[in-house]
């Protein structure tokens, strides 16, 4: 797939503060999660992509075009800023129609698009109330409405789910997934990793201005050599199960959970272990209640790569 957003040797710093340090990457179509600790360079990267800042070294292009001071590129980009700031004295309707002026649509088309965008985010009922009076969730939704109103094919969303209640999050996640189905490209940044996991397994992990990892979460977990995989098996008799595994060469460490039913096994050769597990359980006749891998999620990957 051709890269929608491409950065090559992109670096940026302001004063002596390092923003990005020699970042080269490509973001394809579909949803990509962008994550990293505070001050890692996430917002710098987003500002560079959307042309709010000029690269110090290297370049970043969207569909081949540099975004800095090239206004026409915004025709196809929807940017949802992270700050909870608005023109407070206007209504939701006035904000969305006002911002739609800049795309060269006719008056009727502006009204149509605004109505559709507000309907998609369930704000049709409140569209004539001042944004000043909106709740935190409604402000987030009107911000999303102005992002999608001009029907962009690239969405760049900075913390789109913050401030939404579980229902609001669920709806927006479904909405973003629908966008992906329509073949659009979505770049989402979020602090709450379960939110990104609900959206996609494609992530880009930025830390201290560098790209630490890019790709599919399980694939990345596989590559992390430093931390052996953890597999937790809850059963009626964990010690008997453990006894049968002691001889296994693929197992590095076994620990027993405080609840007296869980056995956590650490191994570098997951395949070898799993192939043996089913057999051993059947031979030993132990009733197994649960098998799961506690560190096969984004939080763990994040911790291993970034944590102290």
């Amino acid at each position: 797939m051709t890269a929608v957003i491409a950065a090559s040797h992109l670096s940026k710093w302001y004063g002596n503060v390092l923003g990005l340090n020699d970042v080269s990457l490509e973001i394809e179509e579909g949803i990509t999660g962008l994550l990293g600790p505070n001050g890692a360079g996430k917002s710098t990267f987003m500002k560079l992509i959307t042309g709010q800042m000029k690269p110090a070294i290297g370049s970043v292009t969207i569909r081949g075009r540099k975004a800095w001071n090239d206004p026409d590129v915004y025709q196809g980009i929807g940017f949802c800023p992270e700050q909870d700031v608005f023109y407070e004295d206007v209504t939701g309707w006035e904000l969305v129609t006002g911002l739609l002026r800049f795309y060269g649509y006719s008056r009727t088309e502006i009204r149509e698009r605004a109505a559709r965008a507000l309907d998609v985010v369930d704000l049709t009922a409140d569209k004539d109330r001042l944004i000043r009076g909106y709740s935190r969730g409604m402000r987030q939704r009107v911000k999303f409405a102005q992002t999608i109103a001009h029907d962009p094919d690239i969405l760049i969303l900075d913390e789109p789910l913050s401030g939404l209640d579980p229902l609001g999050k669920r709806k927006l996640i479904k909405l973003i997934k629908d966008f992906k189905k329509q073949g659009r490209t979505v770049l989402v940044s979020s602090h709450v990793l379960p939110e990104i996991e609900a959206l996609t397994s494609q992530i880009v992990l930025i830390h201290q201005g560098k790209i630490l990892a890019q790709g599919d979460v399980p694939f990345i977990r596989e590559l992390i050599e430093a931390h052996p995989h953890q597999i937790s098996v809850r059963s009626s008799d964990p010690r008997a199960l453990a006894a049968r595994f002691v001889g296994e060469r693929s197992i590095q460490k076994m620990t027993f959970g405080a609840d007296g039913r869980t056995l956590v096994v650490e191994t570098h050769k997951r395949d070898a272990f799993f192939s043996r597990l089913t057999g051993v359980v059947l031979e030993a006749g132990i009733a197994v209640e649960e098998i799961s891998s506690p560190d096969d999620n984004l939080q763990a990957v994040f911790e291993y790569l970034v944590g102290k």
Binding site: P166, G279, L282
Partner: protein, 303 residues
């Protein structure tokens, strides 16, 4: 019994915020859930004595919420949702200041401030000005000011919002430590269901000012029929047929997750036997229960 409320009602002008809420909250960590505007903040504020309820009464630690607000506030630690600090102050003075305002003698407040700041992990940066604090540090500072006067109950309003993953993990660890071993009860209001799931045993769900659900998390999420979620590696079809022949219904989701609905009496180990017979590797095997998100959506009645 620490918090007990009977028929609590409150209205902002014509908007009904709380409508006849009755509940009793015991020890340990309690999750407070609900869509925006469901009345969570209003409930917290009434318990803290910021607002006087229209109808109904309540007690916090035995103190009546209408008459003995001062006593309640003395034994409750409140961690507000929004960022709040006093510019130009360093962390120790800030924490000691609010300790004093809770009624602690000055020297005690100063000593206690140091202790609490070390506990929340701000030990090394406790002399730095608050203006230089990051979002995560400000969040932990709010926790410190809520703990300085050794409260019996902690009201936490969105403690992990706008924190980065490491910050969020540390704050969660802090809350878990406080509510687990110590005799401090925690009332946690949050939009991030994973946090509630990780920390709380009991949960209270409000919706449009009414009590939608209340009780221990495990009971609320238990489901009657036995549904197992699996991930396997190996010959999927053979495995599926084997299970279906044994009388279970098998669905496969698009991300490879296999859902097996087994009849009431069936023994889960049949799944292992089926895997053994067809040479499939069982890599993920969990007895399903409704996720908190589905429970929430179901209870709040939309989706």
């Amino acid at each position: 019994m620490s918090i007990e409320v009977k028929d609590l009602s409150f209205r902002y002008g014509k908007i009904v915020a709380l409508d006849g809420v009755t509940m009793r909250l015991g020890e340990g960590a309690v999750g407070l859930l609900g869509p925006n505007g469901a009345g969570k903040s209003t409930l917290l504020r009434i318990l803290l004595g910021f607002l006087v309820p229209e109808r109904g009464e309540g007690q916090v630690l035995g103190y009546d919420i209408r008459r003995e607000q001062a006593m309640i506030r003395r034994s409750v630690g409140y961690m507000p949702e929004s960022d709040c600090f006093v510019a130009g102050m360093d962390a120790v003075t800030f924490t000691a200041y609010f300790g004093e305002l809770s009624g602690m003698p000055r020297q005690e407040a100063m000593k206690r401030a140091h202790e609490v700041l070390f506990y929340v992990g701000l030990g090394e940066s406790r002399y730095r000005l608050l203006d230089t604090y990051s979002a995560g540090m400000k969040q932990r500072l709010k926790m410190a000011q809520a703990l300085v006067h050794d409260p019996k109950i902690l009201f936490l309003d969105e403690p992990t919002s706008n924190l980065d993953p490491t910050g969020r993990a540390e704050v969660l660890e802090l809350i878990r430590d406080i509510s687990a071993h110590k005799s401090i009860q925690v009332l946690l209001s949050s939009h991030i269901l994973d946090d509630i799931e990780a920390l709380c045993e009991t949960v209270v769900i409000l919706n449009k000012g009414k009590l939608a659900a209340e009780g221990r998390m495990a009971d609320l999420r238990a489901i009657r029929y036995s549904l197992y979620e699996l991930r396997i590696k190996g010959d999927g079809d053979a495995f599926r047929k084997d299970l279906e022949s044994a009388g279970s219904r098998v669905d496969e989701m698009e991300d490879g997750l296999i859902k097996v609905y087994m009849p009431e009496a069936a023994d889960p180990m049949d799944i292992f036997r089926a895997a053994g017979r067809t040479g499939a590797q069982l890599r993920y095997f969990v007895k399903s229960r409704t996720s908190l998100e589905d429970l929430f959506a179901g209870v709040v009645g939309v989706d």
